[in-house]
């Protein structure tokens, strides 16, 4: 058995008692005894079926008391797991790190983190996520959530297209908090030195940059909404983008060599995207965008190129009904913000928060375009956006490599 120093003292005795485990599953969302009691009948049979002859451990927050089990071979291990909230990703990192260190101590070969707070994972979710890692040699399996017309907008308008264009993989939801991963990936992460910028990117981007095998698993529900302590949109956007932009800066050597993008293996049944056409009210979003164009131009001007600023001024004069923000313009804006973030043109917090009106402008334009389209056309619309990100990547590359050649 490996050293116990890396795990909290309260759990050491239990870890010694349990011994080794092949699979460790963490369920940080089960804070209370009732939640844990409800989750166990779902998860324990699946764990037993996944590893009929090998031990597995279910890690739950020590705030929940483990009920007496009736003959299940699954070992329950209370652990001080921090609650996972998507917007407070630092706690997700802590939870993941705890899981990895514990797994290393117990000699686990696969790990599963079921982090969704508002949509508790079912036994089927656990099985579909764990199988590719346990049985098929993948290093990371992440959920591919069922699409929503106006859902996961930060992901579909910024995170997914950027990760796809820069890292060359069509990984639909890099920010997933439910994931399964191998001991190889866990070892890399645990052994990585904790630096000032440790909280960058997500496990998915790290696995891609390390050249590990990544796959997706269909999930028949949309991504869970933000945690109960969700701050305002501007703060969420700033947090997510700061994490992504820091990762882009950290991995510049990798993504500068990548061209195009490749699909990755997807397991499971895609289901039927069931969203219906609905009319939307984008008046407030357009108004915020117009206000931004009026008041924030002096903040945007050191970041955005002159051509982009001219375009924005033109668009700001359009009425809500005919409002459109072209994909190319949106991509240029984001690439300029990545460069502005890197060069610290202004305070990073201010820079990222100043993107909110532009983001709302894009959302308004997208919503007006797709409000009456069928699901396939919505997918095609998002694919078109992704292709724009890929097409304009040379712009980011040239400005990243030679920032002095362009001075807005």
């Amino acid at each position: 058995m490996a050293v116990l120093e890396n795990i909290v003292p309260e759990a050491r005795e239990a870890v010694v008692r349990i011994g080794g485990a092949d699979l460790i599953v963490a369920i940080p969302s089960c804070h209370t005894t009732e939640q844990l009691a409800a989750a166990l009948p779902e998860l324990c049979p699946v764990l037993e079926a996944l590893l009929p002859d090998r031990p597995s451990v279910l890690l739950h927050p020590d705030t929940a008391a483990a009920p007496a089990q009736n003959g299940s071979r699954v070992q329950l291990l209370p652990y001080p797991l921090p609650p996972v909230e998507r917007v407070r990703e630092q706690t997700l990192d802590q939870g993941l790190r705890s899981l990895m260190q514990l797994g290393k101590t117990m000699g686990a070969r696969a790990f599963v983190m079921l982090g969704s707070e508002t949509a508790p994972s079912t036994g089927d979710d656990l099985r579909t996520l764990a199988e590719p890692v346990l049985n098929l040699g993948y290093d990371l399996a992440v959920p591919l959530y069922r699409g929503r017309r106006f859902g996961g907008l930060i992901n579909s308008s910024i995170v997914y297209p950027l990760v796809r264009a820069l890292y060359g993989v069509r990984l639909n939801y890099p920010m997933a908090v439910d994931l399964a991963f191998s001991s190889r990936l866990a070892d890399r992460e645990v052994n990585a030195p904790l630096t000032r910028d440790a909280h960058t990117g997500w496990l998915a981007t790290k696995a891609v940059c390390a050249g590990l095998q990544v796959c997706e698993v269909h999930r028949d529900h949309p991504p869970a909404a933000a945690g109960h302590e969700a701050p305002d949109l501007s703060a969420v956007l700033a947090q997510v983008l700061n994490r992504l932009f820091l990762e882009i800066e950290r991995t510049a050597g990798f993504w500068q060599r990548v061209r195009g993008s490749e699909p990755i293996t997807i397991f499971g049944d895609p289901g039927v995207p069931g969203y219906e056409a609905s009319s939307v009210d984008v008046h407030n979003m357009v108004e915020t965008f117009q206000r931004g164009c009026r008041d924030l131009l002096e903040i945007w001007s050191p970041v955005l190129s002159p051509g982009t600023l001219v375009e924005l001024r033109k668009i700001a004069r359009l009425p809500s009904e005919t409002f459109r923000l072209a994909d190319e313009l949106w991509v240029h804006i984001l690439y300029d913000f990545i460069l502005g973030h890197r060069q610290r043109v202004i305070s990073r917090e201010h820079l990222l928060r100043a993107l909110t009106p532009l983001y709302l402008g894009w959302v308004a334009s997208y919503a007006l375009e797709v409000q009456s389209l069928p699901p396939e056309a919505v997918e095609a619309r998002l694919e078109k956006l992704c292709l724009s990100f890929e097409k304009l990547k040379p712009y980011l590359l040239s400005r990243w490599r030679w920032p002095d050649r362009f001075n807005p």
């Binding site: 933000a226 969420v236 915020t288």
Partner: protein, 233 residues
Amino acid sequence: MFDQVKQALDESTTRVVTGLAHLLPGLLALILAVVISFAFATLFAFLIRRSLRGVDFDGRLASWGWSGLADISPAQSPMLLIVRCVYWGIILIGALIGVAAFDATVTQQMVMRLFEYLPNLLVAVLLILCGNIISRFLARGVLIGAVNLNLPHGRLLSLGVKWLVIVLTTAMALENLGIGGRIVELAFAILFGGIVLALALAVGLGSKDLVSRSLENQVSPRDEVSDGQFHHL
């Protein structure tokens, strides 16, 4: 009679010439000190400019998040600001040394008082500099926040915050310099109160909807990142 006038004139001429003769070394010392300080200032400015340019000082400062300093620097270059501060600082010291060379008690006292006053002056300059940077930072933050909240008077609010900080730091600097006394305190209180009242009125009257929305949210909290039809995460 004529002899007495002549003697008086001679004595007066002798006094003036003697006075001038006494003054001349001091004057020469002043000129020499200023010339030498000019030479030193030019040399130091050249060396500092060269070494700061060598380490890309402006770029590094911007990458450390001190880009606000560029706004108050000549030609948007903090390097130039430092070089000029050093240049004129050396010349000022040279001039003070030169003035101190005069054999005059009053001049010496003046120089001593100036030297005693120098720390206060430096603190005041630092206060105003910091106040300027902080005011710009806060004003920008308030403006961005106001626009994101779709507040109608974001610019006014931002300007108000900026001037609040500037007025506060200027009053602190003046008090530190011992200028104005009670008048500065009084003027500061009136200005500060006036700005706060103006902001409160402007925002309060212009943002009734926002306040009522905020109160509604407190009664029935909703997820800000999923706004009705739109789910951002």
